[in-house]
């Protein structure tokens, strides 16, 4: 592990994502909705010839979809053979943190419990280390329920 992280605001929370999990961060232009789906699937978007399933992380975590005017950035990840775009509020930085991940301290919001693994200290703040795949799993679980 090279301790390279993407720091971003996801569903209103500071999060860190291992760079290895991130394929790219893109600005979404056009999202075609997928009717008949819960709010967690924002729609489909084409990235060149690939079709991304755009996932609304805020809806998965808090159950509150991201307002359309805030839709813009998404982090692209390949999760079990399918391309997903997870919508971000904003991106701060991509940077190496030599200390790496630190164990969680404090009482974590239960909404995040499923997705957070650890904490990464960066820029004087703790950032929640999350795994992108866990959001997709979380979304599938929510769907099944």
């Amino acid at each position: 592990m090279d301790n390279l992280y993407l720091f971003a605001i996801l569903a209103g929370t500071r999060v860190a994502v291992e760079a290895g999990e991130v394929e790219a961060v893109v600005r979404l232009t056009d999202i075609s909705p997928v009717p008949g789906m819960g709010a967690h699937v924002a729609g489909l978007s084409a990235l060149r010839s690939r079709v991304l399933t755009i996932v609304d992380v805020a809806a998965i975590v808090h159950g509150r979809p991201l307002p359309p005017e805030q839709r813009g950035l998404a982090v692209i990840a390949d999760i079990s053979g399918h391309s997903y775009g997870l919508m971000l509020d904003s991106v701060s930085d991509i940077c190496r943190v030599p200390e790496g991940e630190l164990p969680l301290r404090g009482q974590l919001d239960p909404a995040w419990a499923l997705y957070a693994r650890a904490v990464v200290e960066y820029d004087g703040h703790p950032w929640l280390l999350v795994s992108l795949a866990s959001f997709i799993e979380g979304a599938s679980a929510a769907q099944a329920a």
Partner: protein, 793 residues
């Protein structure tokens, strides 16, 4: 074994080719360890494989080479040119032998000992002179190899991910091409640029075709597991089965192979478990002791047909009906009216099985309904042919590739969706008089020609807004996996396209109503709807509405027939507005003006390779594309060019004012406008007596096929006039007596006279050569046409 051998051969040939250069480089620098290792590995591999494949000569050769090379690797001896030559000689001999094995020829009968001795010779006398002998031997061998390049197709193994990447790359390319094409259209036309772009387009299209071929896989893979399964099952159930597999070399998309494995396995299991009887019962029934099971695959157009047939007991439809009645799915009354086919279709009902008891093999509730659902999900069709007591034959028809399917683009809630064409039975507008939509307690029922269907609106199923729209909505009758067709309402059916389907992510698939997605040229992803999924999502009832009851209803309905019929309002080319009964119109189509032609007093148009008479006798137009109505009575079809199609209106069955006159039957007042109503009887009555059949007119055979004038000027002229033109005399097919031969030389004319068909001789000079000259001046179009037309009689 053959496959292993084939693989060994292609592998060896490839490595040999790659290594030839290595050996030379190694000779130049004997200390190059990497090259030495590569060569050593080659011999080692060959030795290993041929021991297994029982190729002793290969083994002996490679073993000798390996020994020497191992010594060199261990530093026990030095490589010198003689050694290299000897190694090369061995490699060439191996190549030669490989070639022979590949072609199935007898192995060349040279003595290998000499080569092997040469390999070891330098060790004793390292003088360079000895090296010549093997070099000489090697030379002819090398020639022999070159001569055999064409032996067998050569293959390489690639990781699938690489092919997928390549596919994606090509898709990207197609998208970029489309965008470029859009951009180019916006700019002013530049023929040079257009030409280059055309070429690029062709290249991209070719590439896409080739790449899609890489996805193909032999059906063999599908069949691979069957023999074992049949053997194991047969043993378990105490049945004897003769299995025949055929058509393993048919190729289909590898994803499709994956999708067909489960249904096929299920059908084969069913067949052994329920179909084929035990030997005792078979003997009692007068059948051979061993049951016959036959699985065959073949390609039919763009479909793969997989037929599974057995000579077992077939399906006991009486039992099916009994079961369905016991399950409360069928009333005895309805059952009594069912046809044999209706009864047979009951097997596709969920939870129905003819199995007397649940066995370990099948009958566990996963039945034919699931098989059908799986087959239909990939755009396939399943058909049964039942011969009670004699056997059952199940035919699966699946598209050649999963990735490209014909689909309809529909609009609903302001969004576009794709639906597999195969799932749609028919499309109607909701103002069609054959359709009646009624609603009770939220349930919508669409009655189409007296058949009642559950109806759902796509917007409701997907919980979308349903904005009011000016035009009529489209109602599609969908075939669903449960066997009960249902009606699906959408805002409009926009288009019919070949769609490249890709799998949707599991998140999207979990909704159950989508089967995949596609990326059309506009770059906005579109979802592919799953007909069965929609029916499930809407929780449509799956109770069989029996056909016979419907038919009775239909007759009752017909008695109280409505006064109004749908009619198409259109504008004639001459400007009048007229009405024509809609049911006569098969469709409306834009046709190239060049397809219209005239023969004698009859006008006709070339459509789909046939000649179709033009009703109003028009053949010349001032536009490039003509809007035309295609009409059909029960057997003949006709084309009716019009200036414009206006709309569909309801008109009284009997015109307001009956005035039989020519093709008109009267005048009706629609929305305050007086419109002439066409008389369909008169339209069809006015058609030429026989159908304009191309073969009856005979072909025009152009003898001077090499001549530029014939090719570039005469042939297009004749084609335009609607003749079938053939360049040169037909080589295989006999010349038909109705054919007309056109030529310029007298000798050809004589030949044609002998063959016995009519000849039109053309001459380049406007004046006839003499009174005996029956030829026609080649630019005298009228005379030419008359000659061709007249002589055909």
């Amino acid at each position: 074994m053959d496959e292993l051998l084939q693989e060994f051969i292609s592998e060896t040939q490839e490595t040999l080719e790659a290594l030839a250069g290595e050996v030379i480089a190694w000779e130049a620098d004997p200390s190059d360890r990497d090259r030495l290792d590569a060569i050593f590995r080659f011999f080692h591999t060959v030795k290993g494989s041929c021991g297994f494949l029982n190729l002793p000569r290969f083994e002996r050769l490679s073993h000798a080479a390996e020994d020497v090379l191992a010594d060199i690797r261990a530093g026990e001896r030095q490589a010198n040119p003689a050694t290299v030559s000897a190694v090369l000689g061995l490699m060439d001999r191996i190549g030669e032998l490989t070639e022979a094995v590949a072609m199935g020829a007898a192995l060349p009968n040279e003595n290998d000992d000499y080569l092997i001795a040469a390999l070891n010779a330098p060790a004793e006398s390292p003088a360079g002179g000895d090296g010549h002998a093997p070099a000489v031997t090697a030379a002819p061998v090398a020639v022999a190899r070159q001569g055999g390049v064409h032996a067998g197709p050569r293959t390489i193994r690639l990781p699938l991910s690489l092919i997928d990447q390549l596919m994606n790359g090509v898709s990207d390319m197609v998208l970029a091409r489309n965008e470029l094409s859009r951009k180019l259209r916006e700019r002013s036309a530049d023929p040079e640029l257009d030409n280059v772009f055309e070429r690029l387009s062709t290249c991209v299209a070719d590439m896409r075709d080739v790449i899609s071929k890489t996805r193909m896989q032999r059906v063999d893979r599908l069949f691979a597991a069957i023999p074992r399964m049949v053997r194991d099952l047969g043993r378990e159930l105490g049945k004897r089965i003769d299995l025949t597999l055929e058509g393993g070399d048919v190729e289909m998309d590898r994803e499709m192979v994956e999708m067909v494995v489960d249904p096929l396995t299920h059908i084969v299991r069913n067949s052994i478990d329920h179909g084929i009887e035990t030997p005792e019962r078979r003997v009692a029934a007068g059948k051979p002791e061993a049951g016959r099971l036959r699985v065959e695959a073949r390609q039919s157009g763009n479909q793969i047909v997989i037929a599974i047939s057995d000579d077992g007991a077939g399906i006991d439809t009486a039992r099916l009906v009994e079961k369905a009645m016991a399950g409360g799915r069928l009333t005895p009354d309805a059952a009594a009216r069912m046809t044999e086919q209706d009864k047979l279709d009951l097997i596709f009902q969920a939870g129905l099985s003819t199995a007397q008891q649940v066995t370990a093999v099948s009958g566990r509730g996963v039945g034919m309904d699931v098989v059908r659902a799986n087959v239909e999900r990939i755009g396939g069709v399943i058909a049964l042919e039942n011969q009670p007591g004699q056997g059952l034959s199940i035919t699966l028809r699946v598209p050649l590739t999963l990735t490209i399917i014909p689909g309809l683009i529909v609009r609903a809630g302001g969004q576009h969706f794709a639906i597999p064409r195969a799932a749609v039975v028919e499309i109607l507008h909701d103002n069609n008089d054959m359709l009646k939509i009624s609603e009770v307690a939220g349930a919508k029922i669409a009655t189409i020609r007296a058949v009642r269907h559950s109806m759902i609106d796509l917007e409701d199923v997907l919980s979308m807004d349903k904005p009011a729209q000016p035009g009529p909505r489209a109602i599609m009758v969908m075939r669903s996996a449960t066997g009960v067709p249902f009606a699906l309402g959408v805002a409009a059916v926009d288009n019919h396209e070949e769609l490249v389907i890709r799998p949707a992510s599991p998140l999207v698939m979990a909704s159950g109503v989508y089967a995949g997605m596609t990326l059309p040229d506009n770059g906005r992803p579109m979802l592919l709807l799953d007909a069965a999924g929609l029916a499930n999502a809407a929780r449509l009832p799956t109770i069989v509405d029996d056909q016979a009851a419907r038919q009775q209803e239909e007759q009752a309905d017909a008695a109280t027939s409505v006064e109004m019929v749908a009619a198409l309002r259109f504008e004639e080319i001459s400007g009048e507005r007229r009405l024509l009964k809609l049911s006569l119109i098969e469709r409306v189509e834009d046709i190239d003006a060049s397809r219209f032609g005239r023969s004698g007093s009859h006008a006709f148009v070339r459509l789909d390779g046939r000649l179709v008479p033009v009703v109003n006798g028009r053949a010349e137009f001032d536009k490039d594309r003509i809007c035309a109505l295609r009409l059909r009575d029960d057997q003949r079809e006709a084309c009716y060019p019009v200036a414009a199609v206006l709309d569909i209106v309801q008109m009284p069955l009997v015109p307001d004012m009956v005035a039989m006159h020519g093709v008109l039957s009267g005048v009706s007042v629609i929305e305050g406008e007086h419109l002439e109503v066409l008389n369909p009887f008169a339209l069809f009555a006015a058609l030429p007596e026989e159908r304009v059949a191309e073969r009856q007119r005979g072909r025009c055979l152009l003898v001077d096929s090499e001549d530029g004038w014939t090719r570039e000027i005469l042939a297009p002229l004749l084609r335009q006039a609607g003749h079938e033109v053939m360049l040169g005399l037909p080589s295989e097919a006999a010349v038909d007596a109705r054919d007309v031969i056109l030529c310029s030389g007298t000798d050809a004319a004589q030949v044609a006279e002998i063959i016995g068909c009519r000849v039109v001789q053309l001459r380049a000079s406007p004046r006839a050569a003499g009174p005996q000259d029956g030829s026609i001046y080649r630019y005298d179009q009228d005379a030419l046409m008359a000659a061709i037309g007249g002589r055909q009689g």
